[in-house]
């Protein structure tokens, strides 16, 4: 047994071409990013709508949104995706069959993005709700006083004014999304976590592949942080320095 642990590591396993797994890991990372961007965008849209519905909607809207955020945030994503993807397509197919149509096949990718978007939307709703509450009410009142429609006031005043308050929470959500893509393994989608497990399980080099995946995730985070910092610097213009 070699004394030097470094010599035990078979770096060849990370080579880009088979039998090395490097290429597979990178492809997994790209898939993860794709799904994350799709799901997160959907989540932002749902979250913005949800936050406004919760704050300014009628009593029915409010209750429905409260159920949405509570249920979706409460139920583990795995359960949601199994229910939506399998039970959902099952029901759809039965419906289609009884109406005389052929079977429909929802792609795992679409279902995955949808589920992640719906889940992110619930969290984003809460983050944005808090951020809007943090905007001094006078700012929004002033927008109204100048005859802005709710949508215009949202776009021109409320959203930019709440952004500094919302950004930390939203950037957390983004980082969580990039890792939540692991869920799509359940529907047979190869993203970074699944291929890491496959590589580790096939080669037994657990430490190596988990750390490699960690480095990839970390790189993604660092790039994200850079972008977030740019957005934050822009959003906080006009805030007196502390």
């Amino acid at each position: 047994m070699a004394a030097d642990p470094a010599s035990m590591i078979d770096w060849g396993l990370l080579a880009l071409d088979p039998p090395g797994w490097g290429g597979v890991l990178l492809a997994g990372l790209m898939s993860s990013i794709k799904i994350a961007i799709g799901g997160y965008s959907l989540g932002l849209v749902l979250g913005t709508g949800g936050a406004f519905g919760k704050l300014y909607g009628g009593p029915v809207t409010k209750d429905l949104l409260e159920i949405y955020t509570t249920v979706v945030r409460a139920v583990p994503e795995l359960v949601l995706i199994l229910l939506l993807y399998y039970a959902g397509t099952d029901l759809l197919n039965r419906l289609a069959a009884s109406l005389g149509y052929g079977t429909v096949d929802i792609s795992g990718l679409a279902a995955g993005i949808f589920v992640i978007g719906v889940v992110q939307g619930a969290y984003a709703t809460e983050v944005m709700r808090g951020a809007i509450l943090a905007v001094p009410p006078g700012q929004i009142e002033a927008a109204r006083a100048f005859g802005m429609s709710p949508l215009l006031a949202l776009r021109r005043v409320t959203l930019p004014a709440m952004l500094p308050h919302a950004l930390p929470g939203l950037s957390n959500l983004w980082l969580i999304t990039t890792k939540d893509t692991a869920l799509l393994a359940v529907v047979g989608f190869s993203e970074l976590t699944l291929v890491t497990r496959q590589a580790a399980g096939s080669t037994k080099a657990y430490m190596l592949f988990f750390c490699a995946a960690g480095v990839l995730y970390l790189a993604l985070t660092l790039v994200s942080n850079l972008v977030i910092r740019l957005i934050e610097a822009r959003a906080r213009r006009g805030w007196a320095a502390r």
């Binding site: 359960v79 006078g138 993604l220």
Partner: protein
Amino acid sequence: MSAGEKAAEPDSLVELPPEESTVEATALTRLPSGRGFLKPHRVVLMAIAASIVFCAVWFLRWDWLPDYAGRLAHGVGVTLLMLFGTCLLGFVLAVPIGLVQVTGPWPLKLLAKGFCTIIRGTPLLLQLWLLYYGLGSLFPQFPAIRQSFLWPVLREAWPYGVAALTMSFAAYEGEVMRGAFAGVPKGELEAARAYGMSRWKVFRRIWLPRAVHRALPTLNGETVLQLKSTPLVATITVIDVYAVVSKIRQVTYLTYEPLLLLALIYLCLTALLVLAFRYFENKIPTRSA
């Protein structure tokens, strides 16, 4: 899913009918009162929920439930213990992590920033795994540790689970607290300093409560996320409710029933968390436009 309705949010302050929104009443919470709670549309929603529950009970297989009731209860206990333990510890760490990023000297700022980046940037599973199988399996190599009084603890799995979950919560929450600290109006801190409060007192009496209050909605979300992160400890042999349900699934090969039960349990736990947070949030009324 009936717990969802129970958690349904009562009307927010701005929407209260006039007779309920006196200045005095705003000091009360917005939690549902019996009269406000049972509005017509709520009754409809509850009826829908009841019928869903009925369908679930009627058309699915639940004969396995009695066999696992005890283990499930134990699992819920482990989940709750993990959740509260790590959230409390994590929050205690998150406050200084958020604070030094706003005002601290640059070495501390850098340290906190780095910690947050690394923890938030890598999957929790990997951290857990590195701690338990990496660090944890180094300990037995040292006879000194093996003989020491610490060994019975280090030999267990839960300390590693607690450590990993705590760090994760601290990192995510530290980021939230950073935003919250930065968002407290400068004038209010100045007023506190102008009255001769020491830095610590300004922090404890004004800055922290104000920041926590405005961070509560996000904090609530992070806590629910933490609840859903706890199942990862099953990979290091800590059996929480999620692990019990996975086991039921593997033993019976049932698809949906155990998952629905799991969803219900998580719903109840989340509903409790949401209600608790909403209560604290509403202790201080905010005027929103």
